[in-house]
């Protein structure tokens, strides 16, 4: 195995802080959702929520939000400054995406070289970054719909901002599930995110 560091230490630290923050935000968010479900048929079981009741869940949600946002800004900032975003996640062409999708469908998409992402991975990581941005903005619109009129309008009003927030959460959770399954299929990538190589 190569001793070249593929995941620099700041990527690993921000990755794990983000993982923790996302888990706490989603679990407390589900408890908040249960107080007034957008879809009456959908409620989250108490065992996978955090906070115990609405007030407790909101304490968690509005505490961990600072961790999530601060960590995300550090992650995004260092990605831009170091050029890692450009080197790792770009360019992303439609042709490469089509070719890799086809390969994936035939079961021939590999991830042998962990230092390079295939087009589907690039898309997934770019989508999840954009998704977190939208998640934070829609959350701000729900939390402060009067103080941020532009954000409220962009989200289609207060009630719709909740729906946007819910959809972004769903995308993030879907990413999380696929991400963990992929790590289980390529266990080396887990070691990579812990020790960097």
């Amino acid at each position: 195995m190569s001793h070249r560091t593929i995941q620099p230490v700041w990527v690993r630290i921000t990755h794990w802080i983000n993982a923790l923050a996302v888990i706490l935000m989603v679990m407390s968010g589900w408890q908040v959702y249960n107080a007034s479900p957008i879809f009456p048929a959908l409620r989250f079981p108490a065992a996978i929520t955090l906070g115990g009741w609405l007030g407790g869940a909101l304490l968690w949600h509005f505490a961990v939000m600072w961790l999530l946002v601060a960590n995300f800004l550090v992650y995004l900032g260092l990605n831009l400054v170091s050029g890692r975003l450009r080197n790792k996640l770009l360019p992303l062409s439609f042709r490469a995406l089509a070719a890799d999708t086809l390969a994936a469908l035939r079961g021939r998409l590999t991830h042998g070289d962990l230092s390079r992402y295939n087009a589907i991975q690039k898309l997934a990581y770019l989508v999840v970054i954009a998704d977190i941005v939208l998640l934070v903005l829609s959350g701000l619109a729900v939390w402060k719909s009067v103080q941020f009129p532009l954000l409220r309008t962009l989200m289609g009003g207060y009630d719709n901002a909740r729906v946007v927030h819910f959809i972004c959460m769903s995308v993030l959770v879907a990413f999380f599930v696929v991400h963990v399954v992929m790590v289980a299929l390529v266990p080396r990538s887990l070691l990579l995110m812990i020790r960097g190589r």
Binding site: S36, I38, I48, G52, L54, L59, Q147, Y158, P187
Partner: protein, 263 residues
């Protein structure tokens, strides 16, 4: 906070799939050092998943969460723009029927007698301290159609009318440099607000709902309506108003709801 390893319990997903997951993991992690690492990771994952109830009942964690909530009060005070108005809506958008909401059932709504009702003003105020309903009705009245946002997430649009709270406070000789206004209600509910919100142009001491005398279920004889704050900050059946510099807390706030509760 206890560190628990995922354990197989009958009837759980872990019980039915746990062994095969572990078998796969061991196959993938052949060398002992990696196996140890793998175990640690599994424990970490287990901690994250199982920690919910443990973390929620931990006292030091709760103290920290409350501290961050007080910090969030300061952040919201900074975000609050006294000149920014909450959106208003056309009459056609009023939610009908407007939902009843309280910490008790609709059958337990207090029955306040209009004739004997008196509003008390206390604390840092040097004007008129006892007000009858007729005296409140004689003050200049305003009307507004705004969105009520509940901390639970739902919202509803309603039309409230009454006295601008800033006008009332000045007529009552309130010290508007004080920090808090606390509000006590006939149903034993109480809450408190910051002075900038009390003086906001849309903060109304409402006496009517949708053009009619405020019905008991919406807070007869009066509700303090603030479209810049969440529902639990908008008390009904108010009987006493106190101007103070001592943090007064509130019914829900003392149980964990954020004190500022701004929108």
């Amino acid at each position: 906070m206890a560190i628990r390893k995922p354990r197989s319990e009958p009837g759980t997903t872990l019980a039915s799939h746990g062994d095969s997951i572990l078998k796969d993991a061991h196959k993938a992690l052949k060398d002992p050092a990696r196996r140890l690492l793998g175990k640690r990771i599994l424990s970490l994952g287990g901690l994250a998943l199982l920690s919910g109830c443990d973390l929620s009942t931990d006292k030091s964690v709760n103290t920290m969460l409350r501290k961050i909530s007080f910090f969030n009060d300061d952040v919201q005070a900074l975000l609050f723009d006294p000149n920014r108005m909450a959106p208003t809506y056309p009459e056609s958008m009023i939610t009908r029927p407007f939902p009843f909401n309280a910490f008790y059932d609709i059958d337990d709504v207090p029955d306040v007698d209009a004739g004997t009702y008196r509003l008390q003003v206390g604390g840092l105020a040097n004007g008129k301290r006892v007000w009858t309903l007729d005296e409140l009705h004689a003050l200049p009245q305003q009307d507004q159609i705004t969105r009520h946002i509940c901390i639970e997430g739902w919202s509803a649009i309603g039309r409230w009318g009454g006295v601008r709270f800033a006008d009332f406070l000045r007529r009552a000789g309130a010290d508007t440099t004080a920090r808090f206004v606390s509000l006590h209600c006939a149903d034993n509910y109480w809450t408190s607000i910051d002075m900038p919100t009390a003086l906001h142009a849309q903060t109304l001491l409402t006496l009517t709902y949708d053009g009619q005398t405020l019905p008991p279920k919406y807070g007869f004889p009066m509700k303090l309506r603030m479209p810049t704050k969440l529902g639990y900050k908008n008390p009904k059946h108010i009987v006493a108003i106190t101007v103070t510099n001592e943090y007064p807390g509130g019914y829900w706030e003392n149980q964990g709801y954020n004190w500022f509760g701004g929108s």
